[in-house]
Amino acid sequence: MVLEYKVEGGDFTQAGNVSSSVKKVLKQLGINPVVIKRVVVALYEAEVNIVAHAYRGVVTATLDDEGIRIVLDDEGPGIASIEQAMVKGYSTASKEVREMGFGAGMGLPNIKDNADEFTITSKVGVGTRLDIYIHYV
C-alpha cells in the first residue's frame, strides 16, 4: 500500500494532518500500537519540519510486509550541515515559530530515536529528503 500527501510550507494550521491520516490507516490495519506511536512521532516531526523550514513537500508512505517506509521530499533552503542540525537544541526557527513552542531543536533527534533506519540528504538551495523505516515488530 502506498499513501501520498502534500505538505505546504508555512501553513501551521495544517501541521499534523499527514500524521493523523497515516495513524488512522495503521490503526485500521491493526498494526501494533507501540509501532504506531513511533511512526506518529517520527512522521509528525518530519512533517512539521517541512512546514517550519521548507517551501513545500511530498510525503510518501509505503507499507510492506515487514514495516513502513516514509519518504519526505521537500523543496526548500536545504541544510548546510546535517551534523549540526542533528544536535539536540540546535534550531534556526524564527522568533514567531519559537513562540508557538516549536524550535526546541528536538525534532530530528526525536525522529532518529523512533526510526529503525533514518537517512537524511540535503542540497542547499534545493531541498531536503528524509527516508525513514520502521519495522512492525
Binding site: 499534523g16 493523523s20 512539521v48 513552542g101 526546541a104 525534532g107 530515536d113
Partner: protein, 111 residues
C-alpha cells in the same frame, strides 16, 4: 481517575471537548515545547501548558493524551476549541500558574 474527577477535585474550567471527560488519566506532563511533548509525553497523560493555538490539539491527539490544561487563566483559540470538540479531547483551565498547578496535580494523581 478520570478527567472528570480531576476537573471536580481541582476546580477546573472545562473549555471544550466534554465528550472526553470520561477518559482515564494515567499521569501528567508539563511543557510548552511541542517537540518535547511529542518525544516524551505518554498516552493518557494530562498536558499542562501555556500554548493555546491549534497545534496543541494535533500533538495531544497524535499522542492520545487525556486532556490539556491551560494555566494562568489562558484561553484556547477558537480553532483550537473546534478541534477539541470534534475529537472529544478536553481543554481545561486554571488560574494558577504552572508550578503550583503541576505540584497539585502530581499530588492528586500519585496519592
Amino acid at each position: 481517575m478520570t478527567v472528570k474527577e480531576v476537573v471536580e477535585k481541582m476546580g477546573l474550567k472545562v473549555f471544550s471537548g466534554e465528550k472526553g471527560l470520561d477518559r482515564e488519566v494515567l499521569g501528567g506532563y508539563t511543557s510548552d515545547l511541542l517537540s518535547d511533548v511529542m518525544g516524551h509525553a505518554k498516552e493518557g497523560e494530562i498536558w499542562v501548558s501555556l500554548q493555546t493555538h491549534k497545534n496543541i490539539m494535533a500533538v495531544a491527539g497524535l499522542k492520545d493524551l487525556a486532556a490539556i490544561v491551560l494555566v494562568k487563566g489562558l484561553q484556547p483559540e477558537e480553532d483550537t476549541v473546534a478541534v477539541s470538540n470534534e475529537e472529544g479531547l478536553p481543554i481545561l483551565g486554571t488560574d494558577e500558574q504552572c508550578f503550583e498547578f503541576t505540584g497539585k496535580l502530581y499530588a492528586l494523581i500519585h496519592n
